[in-house]
């Protein structure tokens, strides 16, 4: 696994929901190396720090990578101003992605802007994958139709009940884990959701991999600013989200540490 740094042309840009954009870049060498769950650190003109954005889809055949991001602050706002024909300043692919067992049934659980990195898993595993996707309300729903097109059974949840299951992703997760024989759950989303998913998986004794977020500097493991508390062999220490993650086995992670 190696990474690159350069400017890559944007060949497609679409708006998925208000303030949420999908961008595809032509970057064959990156696509070649990329794995589901990895991210890129994206340079923004005029800002000192790059912005970490997950890789949403990898097309090795056509040599493209796709990102989906939401405008949260000044940097993502500036990124949203780019259009087809402009180039994207990309450092990537970075970090450790999901480790998906072959030929086994899995569940992906995503919340809001945590959904994009799970789409590549759905593309790769199709009907072996069940997706449980949670959004605030119907205006925030993204990518659900694409999971379905890949042949993944998709369960939608909204906090306000405007579409799909009313409430948290944990209720449908509970049901799936009870009824199906799943080998793994992959989760990405806000911390409370991740904690709840981990608890549910523990109760059903199903392994869980989670994708974490932390503010980053270098993105490549050099500066140790992106730490999260982890435990291995009974010893607590700070791992680097950018290099040791962003995907961790749930039992390694200590929250509030």
């Amino acid at each position: 696994m190696s990474f690159f740094c350069g400017k890559y042309p944007i060949i497609e840009k679409r708006t998925l929901a208000k303030g949420i954009y999908s961008v595809v870049i032509d970057a064959p060498e990156l696509a070649d190396e990329a794995e589901a769950g990895q991210f890129a650190n994206i340079g923004v003109q005029g800002f000192t720090l790059r912005r970490p954005i997950s890789i949403c889809q990898i097309d090795k055949e056509h040599g493209t990578l796709r990102f989906v991001f939401e405008v949260r602050g000044k940097g993502t706002y500036a990124l949203a101003q780019l259009s087809e024909g402009d180039s994207l300043d990309v450092l990537g692919p970075l970090g450790r992605g999901f480790n998906i067992p072959e030929g086994k049934k899995i569940i992906v659980v995503g919340g809001g802007i945590g959904v994009p990195p799970l789409l590549e898993i759905s593309r790769e595993t199709s009907s072996m994958c069940t997706a449980i996707l949670g959004f605030r309300d119907y205006t925030r729903i993204i990518l659900n139709d694409e999971f379905e097109e890949f042949g993944t059974k998709t369960i939608l949840c909204t906090d306000d009940g405007s579409v799909g299951v009313h409430g948290l992703v944990t209720a449908p997760l509970e049901e799936e884990l009870k009824s199906g024989n799943y080998a793994l759950v992959c989760a990405c989303g806000p911390e409370p959701m991740i904690k709840a998913v981990i608890k549910t998986c523990e109760a059903h004794n199903v392994p869980c991999q989670v994708s974490l977020e932390q503010r980053m500097g270098c993105g490549v493991g050099a500066c140790v600013v992106c730490s999260c508390m982890t435990v291995r062999n009974g010893r607590e220490y700070y791992s680097r989200v950018c290099k040791d993650g962003p995907v961790f086995n749930a039992e390694e992670v200590r929250f509030n540490g």
Partner: protein, 303 residues
């Protein structure tokens, strides 16, 4: 072809651009992009005698043309460094500088003794860390503190000794002179400037440590001024840093009095920036008929 090499305290660097401590790991992180041997040297991640956990996250906040960090010296300890990283560093890099920190003089001396017996080329003392015996104020903010650490460490090593100064002082030249008097072979400056950012929605500081060190282009003029003042105050060479991101910045720093430069934060923005700086300096030398960089060190013509 111009000669870009510089010599500091008897150590020859093939070019004057060095990766700054804490921003380049132990040289292992950017090898996918270019070999470590492209850089004149590397100042490794600050190390302590025992491994250190560091501060809770978030440890970084962005600011205008800069960043704040509060890593808190997370490192695997000096023994781990010598065992795991140093052999590869020696093989793949040019000048290897070990950056050392400690809470007590005994800590500094113990770490330096280990390094003295190792293959590192130079030792850089980070005296910006809190002095636990004096209630947590940094060693580097008083002449007495700086002098006592420098003299103790000087007795513990024959390796070329760089003392890295903090800018969080009223008169940096006084500290520079104290380090020189106690046997430093070189000074490097500046470390980060203490700063703070607050999230106006949550009213919480962005850094879990509340405060952190400012670096990046925002601090550059402060660094140039301090390098210039120190150049006028001491007779030992200076490694200049703080906000350098272009070849022009590096040359400006050398004109102020730096014999070599370190780059840190700029690498986060553009990992290739050190190579661009090296190329730019070479071009400047060619264009201006400069044969050796020593011709420009300290050559600012003040009014």
């Amino acid at each position: 072809m111009v000669d870009m090499s510089v010599k500091i305290a008897g150590v020859e660097f093939p070019n004057p651009v060095i990766a700054a401590s804490g921003t380049y790991g132990n040289g292992e992180c950017y090898t996918d992009l270019y070999p470590l041997s492209k850089l004149g040297g590397i100042s490794c991640k600050g190390m302590t005698i025992e491994p250190k956990l560091g501060n809770p996250p978030p440890r970084i906040a962005e600011s205008y043309s800069g960043i704040l960090n509060s890593v808190g010296l997370q490192n695997i300890g000096v023994h781990g460094f010598v065992e795991y990283y140093l052999p590869t560093l020696k093989e793949e890099g040019n000048v290897i500088i070990a950056n050392v920190a400690g809470a007590t003089i005994d800590d500094y001396v113990a770490a330096v003794e280990v390094l003295d017996a190792s293959d590192v080329d130079m030792i850089e003392l980070n005296i910006s860390c809190p002095n636990v015996k004096q209630g947590g104020a940094s060693w580097g903010i008083s002449c007495e503190g700086a002098a006592s650490v420098t003299s103790a460490v000087r007795r513990a090593t024959k390796k070329p000794l760089i003392v890295k100064l903090t800018p969080n002082v009223t008169d940096i030249t006084a500290i520079a002179k104290a380090a020189e008097a106690e046997g430093a072979d070189c000074i490097s400056l500046i470390n980060t400037l203490l700063g703070m950012r607050i999230d106006v929605k949550t009213r919480r500081p962005i850094l879990k440590n509340n405060v952190g060190g400012l670096s990046g282009p925002a601090v550059f003029p402060v660094a140039v001024r301090m390098v210039w003042q120190c150049h006028n105050a001491v007779n030992i060479p200076i490694i200049g840093m703080g906000g350098i991101s272009t070849a022009e910045d590096a040359i400006e720093m050398m004109l102020a009095g730096a014999s070599a430069v370190q780059m840190g934060t700029a690498i986060f923005t553009d990992p290739y920036s050190p190579l661009k700086v090296i190329d730019g300096i070479e071009e400047y030398m060619e264009e201006n008929g400069i044969k050796s960089l020593s011709e420009i060190v300290g050559q600012v013509k003040p009014w």
